[in-house]
C-alpha cells in the first residue's frame, strides 16, 4: 500500500514537473557522461601504456657515409671503434642497469627494408645505401628511464641521433591527461548544475504539493514518508540520467570508437570496449545517487519542520 502510494506520488510529481525533471535527467546525463569518459580514457591510457611500454626502445642512429643532414657526423661515417665504444658504454657502468639488450641493424638491412616498403617510388630511386647508417636498438629495462640513455650516448662521436619512441607516447599521454582534466572540469561544473537543478526541482515539487504535505502532517504521517516522494523524484531523475550516460558510453565504445580508431589510425589499440563502459556503470550510478542525496539533504533540511 505504502509502496504503491509513494510510487503514484512520484509519477504525479514527474507529470507536474515534467520540464524540470527533463532538465535534471539531461544535466546528470551529460555530467556523468563526462565523468565516465574521463574514467574510460584513464583505463585506455593505463592499458595502452602497459602494452606500448613493452615495445619501447631507444634507437641510436649511427653516422652514414652520406648523411642527409650532417649534424653530429662531420667526421664522416661511423667507425668500428666508435661503434664498439658505444656498445661498451651501453653495457657497462651506470647505463648497464637500464639496458635489457641491444641489437644492431646494418645499413644494408635498413636499405633493403626501405626498398621493400617504398620500392618503385621516386624517393626510393633517389636514395642509396650510403644514406643509411647502422642503427643500434636498445631495449630498456625501465622504459621511463629513456632520457638517461639518450643523454648519455646522444652526443658520442659517430652517433647521428638517439631517438626514443616513448617521447611520442609521453606527448600523447600528456594530451590525454589534458583531455581528461578538461572532461573532469566539465563534469564538475555540470555536477554542480545538477545539484542546483535537483534542489530547485525538489523545492518546486514541494511547493506545488504544499496542501498534500500539510494534510499529511496533520493526520500524522511520518517525516520520512512525507519527504520520500520528493527525494525519490530527484533520485529517480538522476538515476535515469546516469543510465543514459552508461548507455551512451556503451554505444560510443561499441559502435563508434573501435571503428573510428581503426579507420583513422589503422590500428587496434586495445581500445576501450563496451564491457569497460559497463565496468564504470556502478561509479556513474553511485555518482547519481550522491548528487541526488546531496540535493535532498540541502533542500529538505529546510522543511523538516513537523
Amino acid at each position: 500500500m505504502r509502496f504503491r502510494f509513494v510510487l503514484t506520488e512520484i509519477l504525479s510529481g514527474f507529470r507536474r514537473n515534467a520540464s524540470m525533471i527533463g532538465a535534471v535527467i539531461l544535466v546528470t546525463f551529460v555530467s556523468l557522461g563526462a565523468v565516465g569518459a574521463a574514467l574510460l580514457l584513464q583505463m585506455q591510457v593505463d592499458r595502452v601504456k602497459g602494452e606500448w611500454y613493452d615495445k619501447v626502445e631507444v634507437s641510436i642512429f649511427l653516422c652514414p657515409v652520406d648523411p642527409v643532414d650532417e649534424g653530429n657526423c662531420a667526421g664522416g661515417a661511423v667507425t668500428d671503434d666508435q661503434r664498439q665504444a658505444l656498445l661498451d658504454r651501453l653495457q657497462s657502468g651506470e647505463l648497464a642497469q637500464y639496458v635489457d639488450w641491444t641489437e644492431i641493424q646494418s645499413a644494408q638491412e635498413l636499405f633493403d627494408d626501405f626498398q621493400e616498403r617504398y620500392g618503385g617510388t621516386f624517393m626510393a630511386e633517389q636514395i642509396s645505401v650510403d644514406t643509411f647508417g647502422p642503427v643500434v636498438h636498445v631495449k630498456l629495462t625501465d622504459p621511463d628511464k629513456f632520457q638517461v640513455v639518450t643523454d648519455a650516448v646522444g652526443t658520442m662521436p659517430g652517433v647521428l641521433h638517439a631517438q626514443d619512441q616513448s617521447e611520442l607516447f609521453v606527448k600523447l599521454f600528456d594530451l590525454v591527461a589534458k583531455v581528461r582534466l578538461a572532461a573532469l572540469g566539465v563534469a564538475a561544473v555540470l555536477a554542480l548544475a545538477a545539484v542546483l537543478l535537483i534542489t530547485t526541482t525538489i523545492r518546486l515539487s514541494a511547493l506545488s504539493r504544499q496542501r498534500e504535505t500539510g494534510i499529511m502532517r496533520l493526520v500524522g504521517a511520518s517525516n520520512l514518508f512525507i519527504q520520500l516522494p520528493f527525494m525519490l523524484e530527484g533520485a529517480v531523475a538522476a538515476l535515469l540520467g546516469s543510465v543514459l550516460a552508461v548507455g551512451a558510453l556503451w554505444g560510443i565504445s561499441q559502435f563508434w570508437l573501435d571503428d573510428w580508431v581503426l579507420e583513422n589510425f589503422g590500428l587496434v589499440m586495445g581500445a576501450v570496449n563496451p564491457w569497460d563502459a559497463i565496468a564504470v556503470a556502478p561509479w556513474l550510478i553511485g555518482g547519481a545517487v550522491v548528487l541526488a542525496g546531496l540535493s535532498s539533504v540541502l533542500t529538505l533540511r529546510r522543511f523538516t519542520k513537523v
Binding site: R2, R211, E212, I215, M216, R217, L218, G220, F225, V306
Partner: protein
C-alpha cells in the same frame, strides 16, 4: 484529556501574548466551544493542542502527554489521535471524495482492505454516501466540509479540533455541519470548536469558553455565545 496550565504563548518578542496564562481542562468526550473575537487566541489554543506551536510558558497536557517534553520524532504518531478541520476545508482538488478521505489512511500506512472497509462507513456518518466519486468542485461548501470532517475522523481520533468550520457556510448548512460534529462527539471523540457562529452556540447549549486578548474571561458548562442573557 486536554489541560492547559498557566499557558502563555508569545509569537514575537515584545508582542502582546496570544495566550496569557490560560488554565483550562477539557475532559474526555466533551463538546467545547471556544468563542471570542478574531485574534483572541482561539486558533493559537488549537495549534498548541496539535503541537504545531509551542507554549512559551506553562504546560499543556494532551492525551496524558506533556507536550513540552515531547520529542519531535513522536509528534506524527501523537497527531494520529487528533483530527482537524478548518474554515477553508483544505481538500485535494484532483482527488475524489473517496480518495480525499482515503488519503488520510494511506499516508499513515493503513492497509488497503482497511481503507476499503472504513471509508464508506465514515462517508455514511457524515451524510455523503453515494457521492464517493465526486471531486470537490462538484460539491457544495457544506458537502466539502463534510468531506473534510470524514477525513479528520477516518483514523478514529480521540480529539477533533474544528477551527471555525462553519465560517464559510450559510446558517442552514452550518446546522447540518453542527449535527455531523455532534454525531462524531457521540461516537466518543472530544470536540473542541472555535467559532463565531452565535446561532450554533446558543442552540447547542454546550460548554462555552470565551477568550479576550488571550485570557479566559468566561467558562460556562452550558452557555450562550454572548454569556447568559
Amino acid at each position: 484529556m486536554i489541560r492547559f496550565e498557566n499557558t502563555t504563548k508569545i509569537y514575537a518578542r515584545g508582542a502582546r501574548p496570544a495566550l496569557d496564562s490560560v488554565s483550562l481542562e477539557i475532559p474526555r468526550g466533551q463538546f467545547c466551544f471556544l468563542v471570542g473575537a478574531s485574534g483572541s487566541g482561539k486558533s493559537t489554543m488549537l495549534s498548541i493542542v496539535l503541537r504545531e506551536e509551542h507554549a512559551t510558558a506553562g504546560r499543556v497536557f494532551v492525551l496524558g502527554e506533556d507536550l513540552s517534553q515531547m520529542p519531535a520524532r513522536r509528534i506524527p504518531r501523537f497527531r494520529r489521535n487528533i483530527g482537524s478541520i478548518f474554515q477553508d476545508f483544505r481538500l485535494l482538488e484532483r482527488k475524489t471524495v473517496f480518495e480525499n478521505v482515503a488519503f488520510a489512511m494511506q499516508v499513515i500506512g493503513r492497509p488497503r482492505h482497511a481503507i476499503l472497509r472504513t471509508v464508506p462507513d465514515v462517508l455514511d456518518l457524515v451524510g455523503l454516501a453515494g457521492k464517493e466519486k465526486r471531486t470537490p468542485h462538484e460539491l457544495s461548501g457544506g458537502e466539502q466540509q463534510r468531506v473534510a470532517i470524514a477525513r479528520a475522523v477516518v483514523n478514529r481520533p480521540q480529539i477533533l479540533l474544528a477551527d471555525e468550520p462553519t465560517g464559510n457556510l450559510d446558517p442552514r448548512t452550518s446546522e447540518g455541519i453542527m449535527a455531523v460534529l455532534e454525531r462524531v462527539n457521540q461516537t466518543g471523540a472530544t470536540v473542541v470548536m472555535a467559532t463565531h457562529d452565535v446561532g450554533l452556540v446558543d442552540q447547542a447549549q454546550n460548554r462555552v469558553v470565551e477568550l479576550v486578548e488571550g485570557r479566559v474571561v468566561r467558562d460556562e458548562a452550558s452557555g450562550y455565545y454572548g454569556g447568559e442573557a
